[in-house]
């Protein structure tokens, strides 16, 4: 099974990172993430204290919105092209495929976000301690965002206007991650990180099964 999943994983990762066929690749969410951090000081003014107090929350909102951008290309193109049918014929379960895809999606979306976070932190005048908490929070939270993204993408694959609907569905599901992620940056908010990790784990555990059931139901 691993031997069959490895080529699929490398393909998924290459597609999601580089982008092709009208898929934007990993660059688009990254630029979006940085753009939000860049626009925010323009909107509220350059007061460093205000920025430092609100900046961490802005980073989390930017991360959540960036997670929505690639939704429509996560699963839909492969269902449309018949790849999921062909994998099913080869006895590869949808659950395994989606678990692989969550991992590939996280590598192509979560990791670049963590790499870009220091830049955002600079733009929002966060100090080193806050940046460290943001990075830790992103490390714990972005796997959950990736899992939610893949679940929603599988649920909306094959629907008209699936992309717009996907964004609307993903936001409420990602709210707990946002609350605990941003909350961990408040004074004495370290407990938020544990809850953030818990939310991520739930999303990761549910994603392959919910998404797999959605893809099978989509065949009917």
């Amino acid at each position: 099974m691993i031997r069959k999943l490895w080529p699929i994983f490398t393909r998924d990762l290459a597609l999601l990172t580089r982008g092709a066929q009208g898929r934007g690749g990993a660059v688009l969410p990254l630029l979006f993430f940085l753009a939000v951090a860049m626009l925010f000081p323009f909107a509220v003014g350059p007061d460093a204290r205000l920025l430092a107090r609100t900046g961490a929350g802005v980073i989390w909102v930017a991360a959540l919105l960036a997670a929505i951008l690639p939704l429509d290309r996560l699963v839909e193109p492969d269902v449309e092209a018949g790849l999921f049918d062909q994998w099913a014929l080869r006895g590869i379960s949808e659950e395994a495929l989606l678990a692989v895809r969550v991992l590939a999606h996280w590598l192509s979306f979560g990791v670049p976000l963590m790499l870009a976070a220091p830049l955002s932190a600079g733009l929002l005048s966060l100090d080193a301690q806050q940046l460290w908490t943001v990075e830790l929070g992103l490390l714990l939270g972005t796997p959950g965002l990736a899992a939610i993204g893949v679940t929603i993408a599988a649920l909306t694959a094959g629907m008209r206007a699936g992309a717009a609907l996907g964004g609307l569905l993903a936001i409420p599901m990602a709210v707990p991650l946002l609350i605990f992620g941003a909350g961990s940056l408040q004074p004495d908010g370290e407990g938020g990180l544990a809850l953030l990790a818990a939310c991520s784990l739930v999303a990761l555990a549910v994603a392959p099964f919910a998404g797999g059931a959605a893809i099978r139901a989509g065949r009917e």
């Binding site: 699929i8 597609l15 449309e80 062909q86 099913a88 009917e220």
Partner: protein, 191 residues
């Protein structure tokens, strides 16, 4: 080639509110070819998907022995990749001995899949099926879009596959020029 066979018993197919056909039984063993014939919308493609196990029949059972290769209207090759790489992706998953069949793709191997013409796409799908090493082929309109030359070449490849111990189910509204084909007219089972 591994053992293969397909037995479908008393299949009924429902799409939406309509029962397309019912009471359909068919079996194909190694070396056999079944031709599902009938006009558009009669349920040929749905039956192929039922036989492949991708669609649940409304009634009836399907027993399959051996692995299945499916070629339907979905190409399942990455459009941005050159044809050679797109085919290699499936070979890396299947790790099978590809069957020797000529679909005239040698000159097209470095062409991105999305630039292929209708007939070339069909030939690419057949090449993917032949390379899978699966004994049981389910082909949905395999001759659509092929010119007369490649249409006959494709049927030669299908016949060769059967001689080598494979089995083939073909859904096609076109007449086939293959020997020893068992034809099943879906109109006979229409509700």
């Amino acid at each position: 080639m591994q053992e293969c066979g397909l037995v479908a018993t008393d299949i009924a197919c429902r799409r939406g509110d309509r029962i397309l056909f019912r009471g359909l039984s068919l079996s194909v063993r190694a070396g056999g070819i079944v031709h599902l014939a009938g006009p558009n919308g009669i349920g040929k493609s749905s039956l192929i998907r039922i036989l492949a196990g991708l669609l649940r029949p409304y009634a009836g059972t399907v027993e399959r022995t051996g692995t299945i290769a499916l070629a339907d209207e979905r190409l399942a090759l990455d459009g941005h990749q050159p044809l050679a790489q797109a085919l290699v992706f499936w070979q890396r998953i299947d790790r099978a001995e590809p069957e020797q069949a000529d679909f005239g793709l040698a000159d097209l191997l470095d062409v991105p899949v999305r630039y292929l013409s209708t007939g070339q796409r069909k030939r690419a799908a057949l090449a993917r099926v032949a390379a899978s090493g699966a004994p049981l082929w389910l082909l949905d309109e395999p001759l659509n879009g092929l010119d007369t030359y490649w249409s006959s070449k494709a049927q030669v490849a299908i016949a060769a596959h059967c001689r080598a111990g494979g089995a083939v189910v073909i859904a096609s509204h076109q007449p086939l020029s293959l020997d020893a084909v068992k034809e099943i007219k879906l109109l006979d089972f229409q509700v």
